[in-house]
């Protein structure tokens, strides 16, 4: 089966999955206790509802429901949302009625994107050499220490490490600011925090992948031909052991978009994470659905991309 057909089929699966995910989200939100109106109104006008007469209130609620398309049956709401969502039109959110969600996202996306890309770059640049060193020096103290930190890095949540870093670098040493996202100095800690998790995973994967390759017959052949350590590792081992790394970088990158939520919260970085957190804590349903939509879409597309790249790198893999 050709590449195009494979991608088309996968895209169709993604489409169906997203539709189901959105339907589930809508039903769950519909089941949630409380009226949509009160929540939004409370945020928009700070409790002025009390001064209105019941008639005025009815008019207000009607207008509100019309604005957010809540005056139609649930299935129609879902259909309307999906129709617009796949064209990246999400309508206004409860907490910010004057700005469409796609504009809010567009404004915050560059921040999260920069944070994610810088962190991923750091994770790859540090993670791969760490894994290689650990593999080449396996079962020595270098290996043990690297793997211990890699384990700790992937288990202890980034947020917790962030707090510890703030304690060390801001409270104790007073060399870095606690929060913000304007100067490079402010970016250091968030980027490192977000990078640690993927870095740990990459280092561990790189180590086992390289060890795996080093046991292959063709490596023995390369040594038998008189290759030096350096030549064999650089030319034969490293290149092949990098292939599996691609598979974890993709999902990690998609994961970063959720993983940055807490870091953005901790360091007051004005990115997408803050938007999602507000959506959750203020019960901003349109924003919550859209967060679900965007996150699941990006995770699935990223996985597809990884599978395609993977097949390019490793000719033995066939699209099914």
């Amino acid at each position: 089966m050709g590449l195009v057909r494979y991608i088309l089929r996968r895209l169709f699966t993604i489409f169906v999955s997203i539709v189901v995910v959105i339907i589930i989200t809508y039903i769950l939100m519909w089941l949630a206790p409380g009226e949509f109106f009160n929540i939004a109104q409370f945020q928009a006008s700070g409790g002025r509802v009390a001064t209105l007469t019941p008639e005025q209130l009815q008019v207000l609620i009607k207008g509100f429901e019309e604005k957010y398309g809540l005056n139609v049956p649930l299935w129609k709401q879902i259909l309307n949302y999906l129709k617009d969502a796949f064209r990246f039109k999400f309508g206004p959110s409860f907490s910010n009625p004057n700005e469409p969600i796609e504009v809010q996202i567009a404004r915050r996306f560059p921040v999260t994107f920069t944070l994610a890309i810088l962190s991923m770059a750091l994770a790859v640049i540090v993670g791969i050499p760490l894994g290689v060193i650990a593999a080449l020096k396996r079962n020595t103290w270098v290996d043990y220490i690297t793997m211990f930190f890699s384990m700790a890095g992937s288990i202890i949540p980034a947020y917790t490490i962030g707090v510890i870093m703030v304690l060390i670098f801001s409270v104790w040493l007073r060399v870095l600011p606690t929060s913000g996202w304007e100067t490079p100095k402010q970016m250091i800690m968030p980027v490192i925090c977000v990078a640690l998790g993927p870095m740990a995973v990459i280092a561990r994967f790189m180590r086992s992948s390289l060890l795996d390759v080093l046991n292959q017959d063709y490596i023995r052949t390369a040594y038998a031909k008189g290759g030096t350590d350096r030549a064999v590792i650089m030319r034969h081992a490293l290149r092949n052991s990098l292939i599996p790394i691609v598979t974890i970088i993709g999902p990690q990158l998609a994961f970063l978009f959720t993983g940055t939520v807490w870091i953005e919260n901790l360091f007051r970085v004005p990115g997408l994470g803050q938007l999602f957190v507000n959506a959750a804590s203020m019960r901003d349903y349109p924003l919550l659905v859209t967060s679900t939509f965007i996150l699941s879409l990006s995770v699935m597309l990223m996985n597809l991309l990884v599978d395609v790249i993977y097949a390019f790198l490793d000719p033995r893999i066939k699209y099914e």
């Binding site: 206790p33 202890i156 959720t258 959750a280 804590s281 679900t292 996150l295 699935m300």
Partner: protein, 290 residues
């Protein structure tokens, strides 16, 4: 699988051999001891804690650790040590409880899919795939919004979003085991289905399931604290590591003791559980010889 099949090889059972392998892993044993200690502490928390978790001492706010308040006090003058104990208790409840939910849903769906196969299998696995694609964290947020922010509802929410991996694992094992040669042999000897499941299939699935649960516990604890950090965890004044860390961060420059203790106990607990999970994986993986 080999060791698992020859369970009584030289008088050592599969579990005795596993325990011997587990004991060799020093970090795992240390983790296990730590976990046993915190479980015992958690059972007796109301008797151990010097103060109730919600008792304010307005004359003693933000106090540094002292003989009276071992780990200091927070912004309302509540004893940090007591609050940490209760937070640990809640974390363990959610960690273990959520895995019970995962176990029930995952095993039921996985074994039905594995045993029945065919159309039912396809449908169940599609559902599992979608569960996998759903951003876990947002799903949790939505579920908690719907069901409320109690300890029990959060525990159920974490379980409801985490069973997909277990279902896949169980399905894979069932599909392999139901056609395995030793099961076919038992069937040929006239063993009933129920007997085969009890005697052959379940014991062989136990190892991987335990390992998966062991890694699920720290994950559940982590999700709960993540929810609490953004204000979606257990309702204050009930303490959880997430809301304690969140509160501590607000005063981190002036009163770092408010965040140090919860962060350290939280990190230590997650590490302990993961080391035990690692140890269990090596010990219960029958391919690793003694």
């Amino acid at each position: 699988m080999e060791v698992a099949l020859k369970q009584r090889r030289r008088g050592t059972s599969y579990w005795a051999a596993a325990w011997r392998r587990f004991k060799k892993n020093k970090m795992a044993v240390a983790g296990l001891i730590y976990i046993i200690i915190i479980i015992i502490i958690s059972i007796f928390t109301p008797w151990i804690a010097p103060y109730p978790y919600d008792e304010p001492h307005y004359a003693h706010t933000f106090e540094k650790p002292s003989a009276r308040f071992w780990w200091g006090t927070d912004d309302l003058g509540r004893d940090m040590f007591s609050r940490n104990l209760y937070a640990m208790r809640n974390a363990l409840l959610i960690g273990f409880g959520s895995q019970i939910v995962v176990l029930i849903i995952g095993v039921i769906i996985g074994s039905i899919a594995g045993f029945r196969g065919g159309r039912i299998d396809t449908i169940l696995m599609r559902i599992t795939d979608i569960m996998y694609a759903f951003p876990t964290f947002l799903f949790n947020v939505i579920l908690v919004t719907v069901m409320g922010r109690g300890l029990f509802t959060i525990l159920v929410a974490v379980g409801l979003t985490g069973w997909a991996g277990m279902a896949r694992l169980v399905r894979g094992m069932v599909m392999y085991l139901k056609n395995a040669e030793f099961v076919e042999a038992a069937r040929a000897l006239g063993a009933k289905e129920g007997y085969i499941i009890r005697k052959y299939i379940l014991p062989n699935m136990l190892g991987p399931i335990i390992v998966s649960l062991a890694f699920g516990i720290p994950n559940g604890i982590w999700i709960e604290s993540g929810l609490a950090l953004i204000g979606m965890g257990v309702r204050p004044p009930m303490p959880s590591w997430g809301n304690m860390i969140g509160a501590g961060v607000a005063y981190i420059m002036a009163f770092p003791h408010m965040v140090i203790f919860p962060v350290l106990t939280f990190a230590l607990t997650l590490l302990a559980f993961t080391y035990v999970g690692d140890g269990l994986r090596d010990a219960l993986n029958p391919r690793s010889e003694v």
